[in-house]
Symmetry: C2
Subunit: 338 residues, 2 copies
DNA sequence: CTGAAAGCGCTAACAC
DNA sequence: GTGTTAGCGCTTTCAG
């Protein structure tokens, strides 16, 4: 391994000067700076973070804690895309991103212990409420946190504007003449579940549409098959008075619901219109192509990185504690006029 | 920050002994071990990796280099799931996983420089051929590599058995009586593209089916919309002699192809059967539910971790340089008898 | 503008 | 069994 000492020797200066050169101290004379860089280049020197971090206490390391449930976390394109954008933005600032595990060597450890072990300066959180206890101590520690999934008291959050998205979807259906609009909700333990359902209620109210409890299905989990189950249940419980449209809380269940609805002999959108939420990549390539609410995952990831780094570097924070990213309705072919 | 010295003082021993205790040296007396652990616990001490790595040269850090193209890399559920399983397995061994970026501080850097900068002991590669040059120098450096995407000379690889999967799909179609089987291929610059196409050819040959060049479409990129384009082209160029089945090289394009085929007035599977490859989570929830080849991403990720860690730790390696994970045909509703 | 020296937290001989 | 000591590669006063 080539060190600062090797460079110093060949460049005819002291290690201290080499260090200064690499840290862009203005005091280093131009000519010696050049010399040092030349030598470094020729030996293909790379500074050693571990040594650097040991003295400076700055690791340039950010952790991510994502749900490890199958079908969630990075396994799901929604979070994958957020993470992708997060880490790309973090890299621009010079931060590296690592997965926070629950192991230190062969021992189990808490997330917080792992953060301290690696000297993480901050973490990105994407854990649902079910795992809230595992991250409780990191939330109340001094590692900076930003969440892109759940909302925790006093914790910075970047998520899509679920209320806005819901309104866009429902207003559209309303415009097409729909008044009997069902809603298949995410588990109401989740922010997405509560907010989308809340906005649905608010919408009905604002339009003077009477709430029909038969038009509501709350799913038990986040999983595509929940859509089929919900569709069956819905069709069953309002056979005599079918909704003309369904607002599905997210695309995965919209796909399976459509499939089930069709297999029961109904046409989408002719008999029942369907709107989703998420705008996954595949949503545009189903039949019918899914009309859905787009979540701007690129912005969510980038903004989360910006925020976290502002926190880490104690920069003035202009954003609110809770940042909401606007949504957009993507109109395709799964809805039609009544 | 609480250090080994703080513990030593309170436990009434030397820092060296504390270090030994934490590294499970058998020479440490039981009673002093207990004492040390007690004190550590009460101060909630966590060892500092940076300091540790500085002396031991062991960072317990593994990097991942994934394509950053949209729709690829961790953004795609295929790689997301592989990465998820990889990092979980690595964690069990005590290794942490970080994303290798092309930045060091505010400067651009090569992947290799970044590996050295962080002292990465190995890397997981998931880059397509288009970016091969960016990782060339890490492949020929001394950092251990395992690839889960492309195949490089002399480099360990873990990927699904594409030939096997293709054969399973085609045998199934054959069994259903199909003889006119089209193939929409991935770009032939990719391993997936070449191998699946190669196996298709091999299959035709083994069954004595004459090769019909009109039944072949090579797509230009990995992207869902390629499926629609291919379907249009295919239908156009063999209007007079349509295939009864299509083997789509991966699920994303199978979805869009089906959608396009349907919108052109044909029924799937009644008029045209379709098989995919990947078995993405959503594949089971389309209409028709997609018959496809399952890639065992959990095993791929785990095996890649096992391999990489064996390499890192210079453990004897029983596996071949190139490990193939068996595939499985998942029969659903997108194929029928001719 | 440059260098000497101390020290970050830990490990690894080696002595006791 | 335990402690002393040197040193990993770098940064940072402080002198010059």
């Amino acid at each position: 391994m080539v060190t600062i000492y090797d460079i110093a020797k060949l460049a005819g200066c002291s290690p201290a000067t080499v260090s200064k050169a690499f840290n862009n101290y203005s005091s280093v004379k131009d000519s010696t700076y050049k010399k040092i860089m030349e030598v470094s280049e020729s030996l293909s020197y790379t500074p050693n973070t571990n040594a650097r971090a040991l003295t400076t206490k700055k690791t340039w390391l950010i952790g991510v804690i994502f749900s490890e449930d199958t079908g969630a976390g990075i396994t799901h394109p929604h979070f994958g895309e957020i993470l992708q954008n997060f880490k790309m933005r973090a890299a621009e600032y010079g931060y590296d991103v690592l997965f926070v595990s629950k192991h230190i060597g062969n021992k189990e450890a808490s997330y917080l212990e792992h953060c301290k072990y690696r000297g993480l300066e901050g973490v990105l959180l994407a854990m649902d409420r079910n795992h809230a206890d595992e991250i409780q101590n990191v939330l109340s520690s001094d590692v900076k946190c930003v969440s892109v999934e759940d909302i925790y008291p006093n914790t910075h959050t970047v998520i899509a504007d679920y209320r806005m998205g819901t309104m866009q979807a429902l207003e559209y259906l309303y415009l097409l003449g729909h008044r009997k609009i069902a809603h298949v909700a995410c588990p109401l333990t989740s922010v997405a579940g509560r907010e989308r359902y809340g906005a649905y209620l608010e919408f009905l109210n604002s339009k003077g549409i009477e709430f029909n409890p038969k038009y509501i299905i709350e799913t038990d989990a986040f999983a595509p098959e929940e859509g089929s189950k919900a569709a069956v249940k819905l069709l069953q419980q309002c056979w005599d008075d079918l909704p003309t449209a369904i607002f599905m809380a997210y695309d995965d269940i919209a796909f399976s619901a459509i499939s089930t609805i069709q297999s029961q002999g109904f046409r989408v959108p002719e008999d029942i219109s369907v709107v989703g939420f998420d705008n996954l990549k595949v949503s545009g390539y189903m039949s019918p192509a899914l009309t859905t609410v787009h979540q701007d995952r690129a912005t969510i990831g980038q903004k989360a990185a910006d925020k976290l780094i502002q926190l880490i570097e104690n920069k003035p924070m202009e954003d609110a504690l809770e940042v909401r990213i606007p949504t957009k309705l993507i109109v395709r072919n799964s809805c039609t006029r009544v």
